[in-house]
């Protein structure tokens, strides 16, 4: 049922989206790189434990690392090949982290090794959750939160609504858009799995109004389903943020600091849903993902299904870049991370590889003092006061930022920095403040432990 009242949220920004460059290009397969670099920790939470040894031959699809506890997912070999080394690998943060180098067999047929299939009709919710963990599925929108972990809400918080996030509000990115058009059946199947696992009564798919073709395709497919509704939401940034999308679609407001399950909602990214529907019936793991390779510095822009672990250098060489390449972002330009070098690789959470030359980005070297123009307050989707937070960050009043001005609610969408006419790096300041608060808290815990110990000693001495 099409709705004419487009659902939206307060404040936010309208961005030039540059999606036309790639949104009409179908998903293409990407060639296999000769050497894959697989960081073990590709998900939020704990890194999985490797279960292969150096020199071992692995088949495409074979599990090479096992989940280590609840907040961890499996990792599979994206290509048939030989484990060259288990060592430190370069990551997006600039630090070296434990990982696996996988050298592929050039002549291999790359047939996928499949595991235990999981059928949505016969499997119990626990089995589905387990299968999702074993398939190595994480949130493909960018956060890479283990999907299975959020499917088990606390007992006292029953879930009634499952929201499938097809907003894709970042500029340049069109992966979800293509997935919605080309994997509609997978999405519907994925929803069945998720509904069964969570026990939710209905699923609502939210699609931004700038993707009318995807909206129509999903509406068509949803007619076959009993409890799936497709809703159009306003094309405004950051519409795709979980709590913002819930508010737009259901009117429910997630309490500050709580999980979305507190209001009976679980949000799942649409590409993640499609992967669940594609992988679980065959018992496969995540081996590759759809990534938008775009931006002004890319010659052959497009949406590609790229194997996990493909080095960034290989991606850019294959797609072709202009000589004046100067910045590469993994994810969208608003919330993505800048690549420190080209030796890092594609991980599960990467939704886009966006490359810029020096010219496209307005230089923001000249930083003016805050002039209280209020632009940031006008756009903050959470109703924070970024101007005041920035001024407090300048004088390192981190405690006051957290207690008086709700720093911890900020999810770093970047709308405030985007509009700031003084070019103040507000989000960067907030990140510094958050990490400083974490450190301060750790120090306090440490001190209180010491104090307790000393008292203990005194008591025992007495």
């Amino acid at each position: 049922m099409p709705s004419y009242h487009v659902k939206s949220f307060l404040r936010g920004i309208h961005l030039e989206d540059y999606k036309d460059e790639t949104s009409r290009l179908p998903i293409q397969r990407f060639p296999f790189a000769p050497l894959l670099i697989l960081p073990l920790k590709q998900n939020a939470g704990r890194a999985p434990k490797p279960i292969v040894r150096q020199g071992q031959e692995v088949a495409r699809g074979q599990k090479i690392a096992e989940p280590d506890g609840e907040f961890s997912v499996a990792l599979h070999a994206p290509e048939s090949g030989v484990i060259k080394k288990i060592d430190l690998v370069p990551t997006i943060s600039g630090q070296m982290e434990p990982g696996i180098y996988l050298q592929s067999y050039p002549g291999s047929t790359q047939e996928v090794l499949e595991g235990q299939p999981c059928d949505w009709q016969t499997a119990t919710p626990e089995q589905i959750v387990n299968a999702i963990q074993e398939a190595g599925i994480v949130g493909l929108g960018g956060a890479a939160f283990p999907t299975h972990a959020k499917l088990i809400p606390p007992k006292n918080e029953p879930v009634d609504t499952l929201i499938i996030n097809g907003a894709e509000c970042e500029p340049y990115l069109t992966t979800d858009h293509r997935v919605m058009l080309e994997q509609t059946i997978d999405i519907m199947l994925g929803i069945r799995y998720l509904l069964k696992a969570t026990g939710a009564g209905k699923a609502v798919i939210g699609v931004e109004s700038n993707k009318p073709d995807a909206y129509a395709a999903l509406c068509d497919a949803a007619k076959q389903e009993q409890n799936v509704v497709v809703e159009e939401v306003n094309a405004k940034y950051p519409q795709g943020a979980a709590k913002i999308l819930i508010k737009a679609l259901t009117g429910r407001e997630t309490p500050s600091g709580a999980h979305t399950s507190a209001i009976g909602v679980i949000v799942c990214n649409i590409a993640t849903t499609a992967e669940i529907g594609r992988l679980l019936p065959h018992g496969r793991g995540i081996l590759e993902r759809v990534i938008t390779v775009g931006g002004p510095a890319i010659n052959n822009k497009g949406n590609y299904r790229i194997p996990i672990g493909t080095p960034l250098r290989f991606v850019l060489e294959t797609a072709g870049v202009t000589n004046s390449l100067s910045r590469v972002f993994l994810g969208g330009p608003m919330m993505g991370n800048a690549a420190p070098n080209l030796d890092i690789s594609i991980t599960k959470g990467v939704s886009g590889v966006i490359a810029f030359t020096e010219q496209e980005i307005p230089r923001t070297d000249k930083v003016y003092p805050c002039i209280h123009c209020g632009y940031c307050v006008d756009v903050c989707p959470l109703g924070l006061n970024p101007s005041m937070l920035g001024l407090l960050a300048n004088v390192k009043q981190y405690q006051e930022m957290a207690e008086g001005y709700h720093l911890k609610d900020c999810f770093e969408c970047g709308a405030c920095s985007f509009v700031c006419p003084s070019h103040i790096s507000l989000v960067q300041q907030f990140r510094v403040a958050k990490s400083m608060l974490k450190k301060l808290k750790a120090v306090q815990v440490e001190q209180s432990k010491d104090n307790n110990n000393q008292q203990h000693h005194k008591q025992s001495a007495a």
């Binding site: 508010k247 709580a258 910045r327 330009p333 608003m334 800048a338 003016y368």
Partner: protein
């Protein structure tokens, strides 16, 4: 791929809207230029002399102080130019230039630099400058040359070039402003004259229409918070309509109140100074409402005919307190409080 230089790394967001402080300031100057042009048209050479001196004094002071204390000159952000232009537009034609210069230096140094420069000033520096002159040279500040004098483009008034620290000598008759005529003689001025700027007064305050057009230009570019002038207009109209209805002879009506004196110039260009006004939209509206009340109170019941300057300066001081009390509603806080209540 060999030609790849070093990658630039920065913190997200990696794209920016392209808005810039100097662009905003430059557009405010553009919006003020027609006002200045009309001032020159109605007051002639005297207006040119006063405006140039005012801008020059502010820009030079900013440049010298910034070089001295902040190492680099901050004249490039155009804020000193706005201050100078606004300050000049609040002065009467024929004011001795040495007074104009001293006022500009005081406004920029005490009104802006003492607080830490751009973004830190509590008071609007242009009005600090004018308030200083009002206190130091009250007679000169309230001696108005008649507008549209025949020789305005050929001769400078004798008072303009008075030597520093000498008492200016005014020749000819001086014109009363509509507000003074109303306050002291009970004489009302025609509203059309007020709208079109055919009356006497300070350089930039006479023609309400041009000022309003400048305001609309800035609002269309989202470079001004329209809630401030609207707030001022609402409270001025409501209060003056009430008192005018009570005693029409004693209190001027709402239209006269709106279009006479410095109200338009103050409401559109000075009260909306981003630095000295509240940051939230609701705060801005309250700020405007309160300022309108102050304007009416000063105009009706104080010894002064005009109250816009003091009303703005006073509200500048109140603005941080409005910001303290009026904060945007944080997402999830109300829901969080309700949840906590339920659990208890």
């Amino acid at each position: 791929m060999k030609k790849i230089k070093i990658l630039t790394i920065d913190s997200s967001p990696h794209i920016r809207s392209g808005a810039s402080v100097d662009t905003i300031m430059r557009h405010v100057v553009y919006a003020l230029l027609p006002v200045a042009a009309f001032a020159i048209y109605s007051f002639g050479l005297a207006a040119i002399a006063v405006l140039l001196t005012a801008v020059l004094s502010c820009v030079v002071t900013e440049h010298v102080l910034a070089k001295k204390f902040q190492q680099t000159s901050t004249v490039g952000d155009w804020s000193a130019t706005i201050t100078g232009l606004l300050y000049g537009l609040t002065l009467p034609a024929g004011l001795p230039l040495w007074m104009v210069f001293i006022g500009g230096v005081i406004g920029l140094s005490l009104g802006k630099f003492l607080f830490g420069g751009l973004g830190c000033n509590v008071f609007n520096p242009a009005l600090v400058a004018r308030a200083f002159l009002q206190a130091a040279f009250p007679t000169s500040l309230t001696t108005w040359l008649p507008a549209f004098a025949d020789d305005r483009f050929t001769t400078l008034p004798s008072s303009t070039l008075t030597l520093p620290f000498l008492k200016p000598v005014y020749d000819g008759m001086s014109g009363a402003t509509p507000l003074a005529a109303m306050k002291f003689n009970g004489q009302a001025t025609d509203i059309t004259d007020l709208l079109l700027g055919l009356t006497g007064g300070s350089l930039g305050e006479t023609c309400s229409v041009i000022i309003l057009l400048g305001g609309i230009y800035l609002i269309a570019r989202n470079m001004m918070n329209w809630r401030i002038p609207i707030g001022i207009f609402i409270s001025v109209i409501m209060l003056s309509a009430f008192f005018h209805w009570l005693e029409p002879d004693k209190y001027a009506g709402p239209l006269f109140m709106l279009f006479s004196g410095g109200l338009m110039l103050g409401a559109i260009f000075m009260a909306t100074d981003m630095v000295a006004s509240p940051i939230t939209n609701l705060g801005c509206f309250i700020y405007g409402l309160l300022m309108g009340v102050l304007i009416v109170v000063i105009r009706y019941w104080s010894g002064l005919p005009e109250g816009v300057m003091y009303a703005i300066l006073f509200m500048n001081a109140v603005s941080p307190h409005i910001d303290h009390f009026i904060q945007p509603v944080v997402f999830g806080k109300i829901a969080g409080a309700q949840k906590a209540k339920q659990e208890n």
